[in-house]
């Protein structure tokens, strides 16, 4: 694990060194007399951050914001939604606790993601009060998410572990490219949901920490400092880079999650509201789980 961390950090440094060599500001010409601000013996991630933030981040976010829905729009038009009858037998799959936890997280995301976009495209919104408010909401709504993220992780952990079936699921992309209702061999959560689980939980926690770093600026992290040898300012830069990169993934999967539950599988969203899942839906999309429930006589 450590090896990979070093590998990644090494790659980042290399990239920043290459960039630094070409720039007037970061090159020898300009900073003749200033080692500056605890930067000695640190990673000097500033140039990397500057390059990414000034040239890539906003465009990638725009790509995600427009691209992912565009793909799904095409999917909706070409493949169309899967419709399952909602009058058949139901199974009570999500208890009140599950639903409250999920809803808290859902509401948090519904605020955090759009406000995040407002910040990213802050110049489009002209800065000032609106964007400042977005920034503050972005931070404030992290608090409820922070509270529920661990319970959520624990309550679905068992179901979210990957297995061999998930490989098959990925090979046919869960059958979503076909108009036919196929029997998909999946447990309570299919591979796509599992992927979202991990991105939401691990990515979410990463976002919380990197976000807290950025929000408080003088957040002291002795342990990280000792572990990485990075100065405070470089930890901040790493946090900002991480927050953005992880942001792409979280946002992309968040949109997917919303699309799946609201559009791709008509009415699927009700199951997390009422707690009941439809037999048909389970039978086709989560066949392994269906069999298990059947054996237990739940249907």
């Amino acid at each position: 694990m450590r090896k990979y961390i070093y590998l990644i950090i090494g790659a980042l440094c290399l990239a920043s060194a290459v960039y630094a060599n070409e720039s007037q500001i970061w090159g020898e010409m300009r900073i003749q007399n200033i080692l500056g601000y605890g930067q000695e013996e640190s990673w000097k991630l500033g140039p990397l951050f500057t390059m990414l933030q000034s040239q890539y981040f906003a465009w990638i976010f725009l790509g995600v914001l427009l691209g992912v829905p565009a793909v799904f729009f095409m999917h909706y038009k070409i493949v169309g939604p899967k419709v399952f009858p909602h009058s058949e037998k139901k199974y009570y799959a999500f208890n009140l606790y599950n639903r409250i936890i999920h809803q808290v997280a859902a509401v948090s995301f519904l605020v955090i993601v759009p406000t995040g976009f407002i910040i990213v495209f802050g110049d489009f919104f002209g800065g000032g009060t609106l964007v400042r408010m977005a920034k503050n909401l972005h931070g404030i709504f992290t608090i409820p998410f922070t509270i529920v993220v661990i319970p959520m992780a624990l309550m679905w952990l068992k179901e979210a572990l990957f297995n061999l079936d998930d490989v098959k699921w990925f090979l046919i992309l869960g059958g979503y490219l076909s108009k036919e209702k196929q029997i998909i061999h999946a447990s309570q959560f299919n591979a796509g949901q599992k992927m979202w689980y991990w991105v939401a939980i691990l990515g979410g926690i990463t976002m919380i920490f990197s976000g807290a770093f950025m929000f408080f600026l003088d957040f002291k992290m002795e342990m990280l400092h000792n572990l990485t040898g990075m100065s405070q300012i470089d930890l901040l830069r790493a946090a900002a880079i991480l927050h953005n990169v992880m942001g792409f993934a979280v946002v992309a999967l968040f949109i997917t999650h919303v699309y799946m539950s609201m559009f791709a599988i008509k009415g699927a969203v009700h199951s997390i509201i009422t707690g009941y899942v439809e037999e048909e839906e389970v039978k086709f999309l989560h066949n392994k789980w269906y069999k298990k429930l059947k054996d237990q006589g739940k249907f």
């Binding site: 200033i34 933030q53 802050g122 110049d123 800065g127 977005a134």
Partner: protein
């Protein structure tokens, strides 16, 4: 002298800087900054290590292609014709990106109320105020004195006890520095 407008620059000669703090204290006093906001910082590296100790004074260096200006998500920075990098506090959201981009740690963030929430960024203006009406009450309140508009030298350089901190158009600053380096060599 070229036709091009001179670009204003700071330079701190670390052979001269003795960490007397005059620049940072005068700056804080002149612009009535809250404590904890250091538009100009004086630092000593390798404190007490023989032959390695270096003191210098850092503030916004008013970079030509300022990284802060490049990364700002709300585009609140603007660079004057004379090269002074300024920003609009009414636009700024206090996100901290300029700080991450800055090689000098120049941007400062006042703690603005509860929960460690940060207010609009504050930094050295080279005593040139901000985008508001020159020498208006509001400009003074948000950005401090506008000495440049009055034809005065920035506060920090004006009080430097050893003339370590130089300010002016890049050419004159580097001329002074070159002369000093040549002088030092005389007897070595």
């Amino acid at each position: 002298m070229s036709n091009e407008m001179a670009r204003m620059k700071f330079y701190c000669d670390d052979h001269r800087c003795i960490e007397c703090f005059a620049c940072s204290v005068a700056c804080a006093e002149a612009h009535e900054l809250p404590t904890g906001i250091s538009r100009r910082k004086v630092i000593t590296l390798h404190d007490g290590v023989e032959g390695k100790e270096v003191s210098t004074s850092i503030a916004c260096m008013h970079c030509t292609d300022a990284p802060c200006e490049q990364v700002c998500p709300v585009d609140c920075f603007y660079i004057r014709e004379d090269g002074i990098v300024l920003h609009d506090k009414d636009k700024c959201i206090g996100c901290g990106y300029c700080l991450y981009a800055c090689p000098f740690g120049a941007p400062q963030f006042p703690r603005d109320g509860a929960f460690g929430h940060k207010g609009a960024m504050d930094k050295c203006t080279m005593c040139a105020g901000g985008p508001l009406e020159t020498n208006s009450e509001k400009e003074r309140h948000l950005y401090g004195q506008n000495r440049i508009a009055e034809g005065k030298v920035p506060m920090c350089a004006a009080v430097c006890s050893t003339n370590a901190l130089l300010v002016g158009d890049a050419e004159s600053v580097s001329n002074i520095y070159r002369k000093r380096v040549a002088g030092r060599g005389q007897r070595s």
